[in-house]
Symmetry: C2
Subunit: 252 residues, 2 copies
Amino acid sequence: LLTLDMLHQTTDFPAGTTPYTIGWRSVAVSLSDIAAMGGTPLAVLLGLSVPEADVAFADEVLSGAQDCCTAAGGELAGGDLDSSQELFLSSCALGECPSPVLRKGAQPGELVCITGPLGTTAQALHLMEGGHTEEANRLLRFAPRTAEGQRIAEIASSMIDISDGLAHSLHLLAESSNVGFRVESKRVQWVPGLRAPAWDYGEDFELLYTVPERLHNPKLGTAIGQVTKEGVYLSGPRTERPLPDRGYSHGR
Amino acid sequence: LLTLDMLHQTTDFPAGTTPYTIGWRSVAVSLSDIAAMGGTPLAVLLGLSVPEADVAFADEVLSGAQDCCTAAGGELAGGDLDSSQELFLSSCALGECPSPVLRKGAQPGELVCITGPLGTTAQALHLMEGGHTEEANRLLRFAPRTAEGQRIAEIASSMIDISDGLAHSLHLLAESSNVGFRVESKRVQWVPGLRAPAWDYGEDFELLYTVPERLHNPKLGTAIGQVTKEGVYLSGPRTERPLPDRGYSHGR
């Protein structure tokens, strides 16, 4: 498995994000991609282009990147250092996997599950705006779910991370697997204290996967609905409505 | 082998560089790193962040990237697409190699060789300034020396590419191998038409390597001097002077 992500100041890091968190998160994005296929991270490279070659800033970024690797696996093995007007990062992760779980493979009748609550990043942005910088940074430093991903890979028929938001991620799985979903809204959990839950909150890194009911293991995720033949629907206590394919747009 | 490079408009692509050349060169930089260890490229990922999500521009960049992979090896397997004020690229190459050639390993008494003439990029920049855009772009699209690198790897004791300029690259080999060099200036070849040869011209991608004299093969490069015990010297017909460790600075 080989994955590459680019991140830059304007879009990816709201004011108040510390360089340590920036480094952590840049690596986490790539490790989450490895996790979403059930892979084991081997190596991570980080490209870092900082304004005015700020060495102290770069050191903090590398420290965050290193600690994310320690938490989630993979060796921070090198990278590239550059300088530019805007802060720019690029992270690459190499992983291995005996049989990667793809977006394709879900079957009608299976369960759709998720590894954690929604809205972590949205809540972090909210806290950041309110001046609660420290708590916001802590929330932004999620640990990519590499260990869980490897265990889920043994039972899942399809998988994705929810970095594009739950709604769009469901649509991506639906399209790749040629199936649909019915999500029961009451089963979906949200991060505590979240002010305004929204189905298209993005930049989170929980794993969304499908699994035959007999293989479902509640320790590896909460079942939030079923795989159906077509359409992506959200069902409440009395009504059912389509969940539109609205992707996460940065800076929401 | 895994390598990551970042490139951006201001520093790496003078006005007049076509998007096709930009794509070619971004991939070439990483494939040249694989070549410099004697590796076989397997996969390349390209991250591309373009102003105002210019799709036609992005298509041209990808086309150049694809053609460079076709020329030098490796499958363009994916990447990341983003938008930002300044054009930014990131390229990652994965390669394999039974026994990689390192910067360390040169022994006094061996020959130091180079695969081609110096000054290709400098000449391209010169042509660009003179309005000879097409020829300049053609020169910028060097083919990374992956095939040569693999053959050289069978005989070389140390290797590097000269992307940081000949002078700095010699010093890097000297430091890693704990040796010195004496380069005979008359043996060094320059690109035809080059106006002002300089030892610190960079952004070129010829391979610089050391080899025991009995294994030297002129088809794989020109011997330009000897490995010595210490110091990096340039010897002319009557004099010998130190070659300072002056790295290539962008935009020279």
